[in-house]
Symmetry: C2
Subunit: 158 residues, 2 copies
């Protein structure tokens, strides 16, 4: 059995899942703190994507915790590993896409349009909250990308 | 020596590089066909990112062609493989980020703003060209992502 940084069923693996979940949830909470966000197509997509990320990370974080307690190993079967690899890659790429999309719209709105448009003018407070939400989405992508790389490595090396 | 689909120095590897180069170049040409694109921060970023992608793919496409002709192998040294893996991953993620960013701004512009803003109104012709450019950027990401996965697989398996 492989056992290095980030492997499922280890403390680092669990820590990765927990940070993914925290960043994704934080991103959602900051984003839905204003109704205005729903006027932006990309922000709606970010909320969906972060919801998927949070659910996925919560499930596999719970599985990691279960593994740590019971010492049962579930990633020694190739089929399980393939399932986690595919899921991790889909969530990681979705998170990157949604975070980039939201960041781009935020830049377009604040910089190119000069902070006002037909969609509605954001107050300074929400501009800040949305930017923090996007930053958290990027953090959730980074942690999720690490998990995806580790899982692919395990798949290739077994 | 590993030799499967997409390995550098094989015909499929060369075909991947050529399609990356064609898609990235096509994306740039379509994007710079209108000066208006430079008003959009994300479109400028897409041009930069596609320029990087086209250069990278051209260099390694040329190296693949050279390998095919001379039968010399350059990916049997771990240091070379690590260099290509890192470069491939950076270009692939940049392409995905830039393509998502541009697509998001395009949707924001056309859908959320209803196709007109302080940045300037696009004519129907350019709306179509920009969308085609973004589609080609996504295609270049897909082909570049395949290269990146293949290279990581080679790194993990050797």
């Amino acid at each position: 059995m492989l056992n290095f940084f980030g492997t499922p069923g280890t403390f680092t693996g669990l820590a990765l899942r927990i940070s993914q979940f925290i960043f994704a949830s934080g991103s959602i909470v900051l984003m839905i703190s204003s109704n205005t966000s729903l006027n932006f197509t990309s922000f709606r997509m970010l909320i969906m994507s972060m919801l998927f990320q949070a659910t996925w990370s919560f499930c596999f974080g719970a599985l990691d915790a279960y593994t740590l307690v019971t010492k049962r190993v579930f990633h020694n079967r190739r089929a399980n590993v393939i399932f986690i690899v595919v899921g991790d890659w889909v969530t990681a790429l979705l998170s990157l896409g949604a975070a980039s999309a939201s960041a781009a719209v935020m830049v377009f709105y604040l910089h190119d349009l000069g902070g006002g448009s037909a969609v509605g003018r954001l107050s300074g407070e929400y501009e800040l909250k949305f930017q923090m939400s996007i930053a958290m989405a990027y953090m959730s992508w980074v942690t999720s990308g690490i998990s995806a790389l580790v899982m692919l490595w395990i798949l290739a090396a077994t």
